[in-house]
């Protein structure tokens, strides 16, 4: 977002304090709107996390805590390893033979990579919503939402019915699909599909919900819907969201991690702080530069 009047000011004065110059007022104003927070309880802790593929480091030096019932956003340019890092949090890299995750990631003080918790149980506790809506196209709306529970051995209809209503409501989808639960998921619009995916993830009652650019393929109205949702979801689940869109990060997140690609093209964590701090008074010059260079 460019500043109101002079287009060139920022580029000419990179060393000026972030607090005083160059931050787009509209962003700052959004950050202001974030409610002041209760004390932060870390639920997932990352320490010196690095991920490499075939020995090539994709992201490294990541250390931060994910606070319970907070929204943590990860921002950074393309290729800085946001997705890669996010996928490390529910061991989705296990599928990729060439991927190695080092450092420690703990969930409630149990290292998730040290066998303390079976992967499938980890994943029921740490859910995920992907970049593009990916409902199971062969299943109905109901079956999509039920799928996670069924994968975990829950077959009782009463329980399922209740859980499905509950998570569809939480995803703000119940009213529009209540009458057609048995219809194929593919008949929903893009935005509805993404909310269905959120409902599906919520159905297994995860403690943490990972979201990788959940609105990037959606139109603005659907995006708005989902952003609204995040605020209400925070009450039941901890959220980690990757986004390209700084305004979105500013609007929805409490904490913010900024990643950047280093000289060697490996992403690294530059700064982690409350969203307010990142957007108004970042410590690192590169964070400032990135936030300044951003626009629209």
């Amino acid at each position: 977002m460019e500043s109101t009047t002079e287009n060139s000011t920022m580029e000419n004065s990179p060393r000026q304090s972030a607090a005083t110059v160059g931050i787009d007022p509209s962003i700052v104003s959004m950050v202001d709107a974030i409610p002041s927070n209760a004390p932060v309880v870390p639920v997932m802790r990352l320490k010196d996390v690095a991920v490499s593929f075939n020995g090539k480091v994709a992201v490294r030096d990541v250390t931060f805590d994910v606070g319970k019932n907070r929204v943590t956003s990860m921002i950074g340019p393309s290729g800085s390893g946001k997705t890669t890092l996010l996928r490390a949090l529910n061991r989705l890299h296990d599928l990729t033979k060439s991927a190695v995750v080092t450092g420690s990631i703990t969930l409630d003080d149990v290292d998730i990579y040290k066998g303390g918790i079976p992967t499938t149980l980890l994943r029921t506790r740490v859910g995920m919503v992907f970049q593009r809506p990916n409902p199971f196209p062969t299943m109905s709306i109901y079956d999509n939402v039920a799928s996670g529970l069924r994968f975990n051995g829950i077959k009782k209809k009463a329980f399922l019915d209740d859980a499905i209503e509950h998570s569809l409501r939480a995803a703000a989808l119940w009213d529009s699909v209540e009458s057609r639960l048995k219809v194929a998921a593919a008949t929903l619009s893009g935005g509805e599909q993404q909310r269905l995916c959120i409902a599906r993830a919520l159905a297994v009652e995860p403690e943490i919900l990972l979201m990788d650019e959940p609105t990037s393929s959606l139109d603005p109205v659907s995006t708005q819907h989902i952003e609204d949702l995040l605020t209400s979801l925070k009450e039941i689940v901890t959220i980690v969201i990757v986004t390209h869109n700084m305004q979105q990060a500013a609007r929805v997140s409490d904490d913010c991690a900024f990643l950047l690609m280093g000289e060697d093209r490996a992403g690294e964590l530059i700064e982690f702080a409350t969203t307010e701090k990142i957007f108004t008074n970042p410590t690192d010059k590169r964070t400032l530069d990135y936030i300044q260079g951003r626009f629209g």
Binding site: L92, G127, N134, G148
Partner: protein, 308 residues
């Protein structure tokens, strides 16, 4: 940058005029070339379809008069000098095809699906080698499978010439075809779906069964149908191992006659009038393959309905 562009020898307007003039001049040649190209394609189409139509035409023309209920349901009779039109029907071959081919499908479909899953799930070098082996097998002369079953099962294991030996030969022939095609169907399942399953706490096996197989089903059906119609049309591998029979006996442990082996035998018959029977059998097979093709399309369309 713009200024650099303006330093170029000509002005942009001159440059534009030059290109547009060249394009106008070339326009006629382009059109001519396009017409020639269209002509060549049409010619190719003609050359390809004349024999294909001719086959269909002759099969129908020569075969249609044979296709009666009696022809389909009575056993053959060998003509003789004295009863030359006593050729009877082909119930033996219909039964044999259903039995031998049905058994081959019963064996090859589950095996192929298992192999496809194994290939899909693993990535190592060994699997790569196995896949190459399967591909090489697909390119093998189909008669080799017949020779193999003949030598090592019929002769060595005193297995005799039986329908089952034919089923085995067809199975060995179809498994590589089907498993490679089914693996491709599995690979067509978007990774985001399997990841979605895993992210919900599913095990790989659950993802395979509930998501991957279900999603790949239509393409797998098509793959199986195509391999199956290849199998049903094979002559060489079964010819050697299956023997033949006059009467439908529904017993896999005895010799059988299939439609294709019957065709081969009839074409070698010295009774001219018996030879035209092959067209009737070919017609029958065309109809069967066509119905299979149609059925699989309908099933696939129905499976896909609403969810693509």
């Amino acid at each position: 940058m713009t200024s650099a562009a303006l330093e170029a020898p000509r002005t942009d307007d001159e440059r534009r005029a030059a290109v547009q003039e060249a394009a106008s001049r070339f326009y006629r040649r382009k059109t001519l070339y396009s017409k020639l190209f269209l002509g060549a394609t049409s010619l190719g189409l003609l050359i390809a379809f004349i024999p294909l139509f001719s086959i269909i035409y002759n099969v129908v023309r020569n075969g249609i008069s044979y296709i009666t209920w009696k022809f389909l349901t009575t056993p053959p009779q060998s003509p003789s000098i004295f009863h030359k039109h006593q050729i009877g029907g082909i119930s033996n071959a219909i039964e044999g095809t259903a039995l031998v081919f049905g058994m081959a499908l019963l064996m090859s479909v589950p095996i192929s699906i298992m192999v496809a899953i194994a290939l899909y799930e693993s990535h190592g070098r060994v699997m790569g080698a196995l896949r190459t082996l399967l591909e090489v097998m697909i390119g093998m002369p189909s008669i080799l499978f017949g020779i193999f079953i003949y030598t090592y099962v019929v002769e060595r294991m005193h297995f005799q010439l039986t329908g089952l030996a034919g089923s085995l030969a067809l199975t060995v022939l179809m498994v590589p075809l089907m498993s490679v095609a089914c693996e491709q169907a599995l690979r067509g399942v978007p990774a985001v779906l399997t990841e979605a399953g895993l992210a919900l706490g599913a095990k790989k096996a659950q993802v395979m069964r509930k998501i991957v197989l279900r999603y790949a089903l239509p393409r797998m059906l098509t793959a199986i149908m195509l391999s199956a119609s290849r199998g049903i049309g094979e002559t060489a591998p079964v010819l050697l191992v299956i023997g033949s029979t006059y009467v439908a006996n529904w017993n896999l442990m005895t010799s059988q006659t299939t439609l294709t082996t019957l065709m081969y035998n009839i074409i070698q018959s010295f009774y001219n009038y018996q030879r035209s029977e092959v067209w009737a059998i070919a017609l029958l097979l065309i109809v069967v393959v066509f119905v299979l093709n149609l059925a699989s399309r309908i099933i696939v369309a129905r499976l896909n309905r609403g969810h693509r």
